[in-house]
């Protein structure tokens, strides 16, 4: 049996009618979820509650419940933070940068990717806050006039993080909601159930598909894309400043901002592909999210993966070229020291395996691409782990050299963050349209007026 990889498995026999698109996309909201859905939800929410239990344990007994110690003060907490912030970058890249570049294939995946962005930022935001140990005092991070005349230190990269991540979350949420308003209006007009109608009416704000509104809407969408584009690049740049602005060998490097941004897009796209492969199958959306979409995303993964590989090489080169013995020691120790296993996991998952995407057959094969993107997810987590732990575990004072051993609580919170993420994704797929209906309708063949037909 030979498979034709140049074509998708299932095709619409003819160009879909708009009403068919509506029916298909809103099917998850119109029908009752299957038993499989509830099993999946039960599984992910159990993981989530496991995570919450571990977080509660941490709050009660303190950060000592983690594997962190004096030498390695940033263990899993910050690794997970950087990992999730990285995942969050794909959504805004797809919705903003590809919009500005007029990549219309983005319309099919933009909504889902944006939702993943928001959920990933929620997961990410959790970690620095619980890492403080007393998250109920996090209000001090916000500059407000208080009796102690105390202001945040605005020149600290950790404070920049607060501003960057919260701005990113707010802007992504508004951008996402703005796109959802017309779709909520469609769902409102479809809804038969009274409560469903009430909810969709509330969120659609009384949208009327008016062209006088579409005019401002499209302009505002463009403006948001323009604002979000530099923002998405700035967020991981600021996260990389947490490391690059420190004087620690292995962190103090000017390559970090572009290296982190490339890594973020790389891991974000990998996560989006991972989720889309499952989602399009479960909801029969192969006709809307086609193999062509996935192939294009795989190409971006290949590109950014190679950029990350270049950054690994450059890091090693710079440490040799700098002539600083400590830098050289850290580079050698990273590759051949205690954490060699983690380093080579990173390199093979992030640099070696994505190279298979040079082959069209791999790019267009669902099982193969699924394996590669899963490896990329693993590799990108280990990349942050290596950067943080392997740089910290050899202190300036050899007497405090140590090895990081995560505790059970560490793993519980990491697993819990995945549970939280996928629980939110599962709830999202059943309550909101996973594909932007009003956007996808606009790019169907014959949806736009022909220039010779009516207008002139």
């Amino acid at each position: 049996m030979s498979l034709d990889y140049s074509k998708d498995m299932v095709q619409f026999t003819k160009e879909p009618k708009l009403v068919e698109l509506d029916n298909l996309i809103s099917k998850p909201m119109d029908t009752n979820p299957s038993r499989k859905y509830f099993i999946a939800l039960a599984f992910t929410s159990s993981l989530m509650f496991l995570g919450f239990l571990c977080i509660g344990y941490t709050f009660y007994f303190g950060i000592g419940a983690w594997g962190n110690n004096q030498t390695i003060a940033w263990g899993f907490g910050i690794t997970n933070f950087v990992f999730w912030v990285g995942i969050a970058h794909a959504g805004t890249l797809i919705s903003a940068i590809l919009y500005l570049l007029r990549q219309r294939w983005r319309n099919a995946i933009a909504r889902f990717a944006e939702a993943m962005t928001i959920f990933a930022v929620i997961c990410a935001g959790l970690f620095p806050i619980i890492h403080t140990g007393r998250p109920w005092l996090a209000g001090y991070l916000i500059p407000y006039p208080n009796s102690m005349n105390l202001w945040p230190n605005f020149i600290s990269p950790l404070d920049w993080d607060v501003f960057a991540v919260s701005t990113y979350f707010t802007v992504s949420l508004l951008f996402w909601y703005l796109g959802l308003v017309p779709d909520f209006a469609i769902l409102r007009d479809r809804a038969k159930d009274r409560i469903k109608k009430l909810i969709y009416t509330f969120f659609s704000l009384g949208w009327r598909h008016s062209n006088r509104h579409w005019r401002d809407y499209e302009k505002a969408y463009m403006v948001f894309a323009g604002l979000a584009t530099p923002l998405v690049l700035s967020v991981h740049t600021v996260v990389s400043f947490d490391f690059a602005a420190a004087i620690l060998p292995g962190w103090h490097s000017t390559i970090f901002p572009p290296y982190f941004v490339a890594g973020a897009i790389f891991s974000g796209f990998a996560m989006v592909v991972t989720a889309l492969v499952v989602m399009r199958k479960v909801f029969d959306m192969e006709n809307i999210i086609t193999l062509n979409h996935l192939e294009k995303m795989n190409k971006i993964i290949l590109l950014t993966g190679s950029m990350v590989g270049y950054a690994y090489l450059m890091e090693a080169f710079i440490s040799w070229y700098s002539g600083v013995p400590t830098e050289q020691y850290v580079a050698v120790n990273r590759a051949f020291g205690n954490y060699a296993w983690a380093y080579w996991t990173t390199v093979s998952c992030n640099v070696f395996f994505p190279q298979f995407f040079w082959f069209k057959k791999v790019r267009r094969s669902i099982p193969l691409m699924f394996i590669v993107v899963l490896l990329v997810n693993v590799g990108m987590w280990f990349e942050r782990y290596v950067i943080i732990v392997s740089s910290l575990h050899r202190d300036f004072l050899p007497s405090s050299w140590t090895y990081f051993t995560p505790s059970v609580i560490d793993f519980g919170i990491l697993i819990g963050s995945f549970g939280l993420f996928f629980t939110l994704v599962l709830i999202f797929t059943r309550t909101m349209p996973v594909i932007a209906m009003s956007e996808i309708k606009g790019i169907v063949e014959g949806a736009q007026p022909s220039h010779d037909g009516g207008a002139h």
Partner: protein, 387 residues
């Protein structure tokens, strides 16, 4: 036509994008201006067909974004360079490069939030859930796959029959009359509403009380009030003497507290000589310490005019001949050792400060008993200083 007074608009449905564009152009050319087109997605060229100018929403972003950016930059300058200067490794208080990330983020944040609010509230005038179009078949059709146009009765050229025939001539699939919805009235002092307000008020105050007065005092939210450590004067079950504070080893000398050899002796041989040179700084310190420790009994100018008004034995004046004749060492000895009702000050005042007080007392004595020659001396100094 009983309901004709309630008429909101005349609407028509078209089934292809080309037809709706043509219809919009025609309606515009006929001179109507209170009309709108409803399409399930934005149509290219519709703004031109309807004669709409380009959107002004970008200006909101521009002005609000620039305002937000400049505001936060000024704010950071004010907090870190003016209101509370943080000295970090000799770096400048106003460090522009380090302020750029937050300035950028806030520019984007304020720009985006203001655009969103302006778009929804000002440009769209939403939420608007009782618009006459809602819940009509017209709305339910245009939200799926058809293209609609309507002209409202507010239009000066509105004429129902004429508009219907215009729409039909343009190839409308159907025409529709949209009526204003029935006005619903809600009384302010409806019992349910008042009960709801009371419920909200009780809920808000109750949860605030519980949060601030109860929750914040249970572990682990207790502001570190309970810590596993001994506080001063606490009982200890661990040590034999049941005291958590340990007494130092015999003969321990605390830093800066070298034992005074003449302790308890009324009139020591006056071997102590003043080791200080009365500089201006030293006298300033002596004055400060004198005013703190000595002046309550001896008076601000050492005249024995106690501020305590007899509630405590009055200290004597320090301008008596006897005290003027005392050596510096004797004064130092009295401060250190105490005398009659005066307690010893060796634990409150350091040795250096005690000598500074002695020097200051000498200054007071000299000032109180100044001679004419001193005035001449002061005048001479003033003129040389050019005052």
């Amino acid at each position: 036509m009983a309901r004709s007074n309630n008429l909101h608009s005349v609407a028509a449905i078209f089934d292809t994008p080309n037809k709706i564009i043509k219809a919009a152009e025609k309606v515009r050319d006929e001179g109507y201006n209170k009309f709108d087109v409803n399409t399930p997605y934005p149509l290219h060229g519709m703004d031109k067909a309807m004669g709409l100018s380009s959107s002004k929403v970008g200006f909101v972003t521009l002005f609000c974004g620039l305002f937000g950016g400049s505001f936060i930059l000024l704010f950071m300058w004010w907090t870190l360079a003016k209101n509370y200067q943080l000295f970090i490794g000799g770096k400048p208080f106003f460090a522009l490069p380090a302020f750029i990330p937050i300035t950028f983020e806030i520019t984007v944040l304020i720009g985006a939030v203001s655009t969103f609010i302006a778009l929804i509230a000002v440009f769209f005038k939403l939420p608007f859930n009782n618009h006459p179009l809602h819940d009509t078949d017209y709305m339910k059709t245009v939200s799926v796959d058809k293209y609609g146009i309507y002209i409202t009765t507010e239009d000066p050229k509105f004429d129902k029959e004429k508009i219907i025939s215009l729409f039909k001539s343009l190839g409308a699939v159907s025409t529709d009359l949209i009526y204003l919805p029935k006005q619903e009235k809600f009384s302010m002092f409806n019992l349910k509403f008042v009960l709801f307000l009371i419920f909200v008020a009780a809920g808000t105050s109750g949860s605030t009380y519980l949060l601030l007065n109860k929750l914040m005092y249970i572990t682990p939210f207790d502001w570190m009030e309970f810590q596993e450590k001994y506080t001063p004067q606490e009982t200890s079950l661990f040590f034999g003497d049941r005291r958590s504070m340990r007494t130092p080893v015999d003969g321990t000398v605390a830093k800066g507290f070298i034992p005074y050899p003449y302790k308890g002796i009324a009139n020591p041989t006056e071997v102590l000589s003043n080791p200080t040179i009365p500089t201006e700084d030293l006298l300033k310190m002596g004055k400060k310490k004198y005013l703190t420790f000595c002046s309550p009994c001896h008076g601000n100018f050492a005249e024995g005019d106690s501020r305590l008004n007899g509630q405590f034995p009055n200290g004597p004046t320090l301008h008596s001949d006897k005290i003027i004749k005392y050596s510096d060492g004797m004064l130092y000895h009295i401060i250190t050792n105490g005398q009659n009702a005066m307690p010893a000050y060796d634990l409150q005042i350091t040795r250096h400060e005690r000598w500074a007080i002695v020097d200051y007392i000498r200054v007071l004595q000299r000032a109180k008993n100044a001679k004419n020659s001193d005035l001449v001396e002061i005048k001479k100094e003033s003129t040389t200083n050019g005052q």
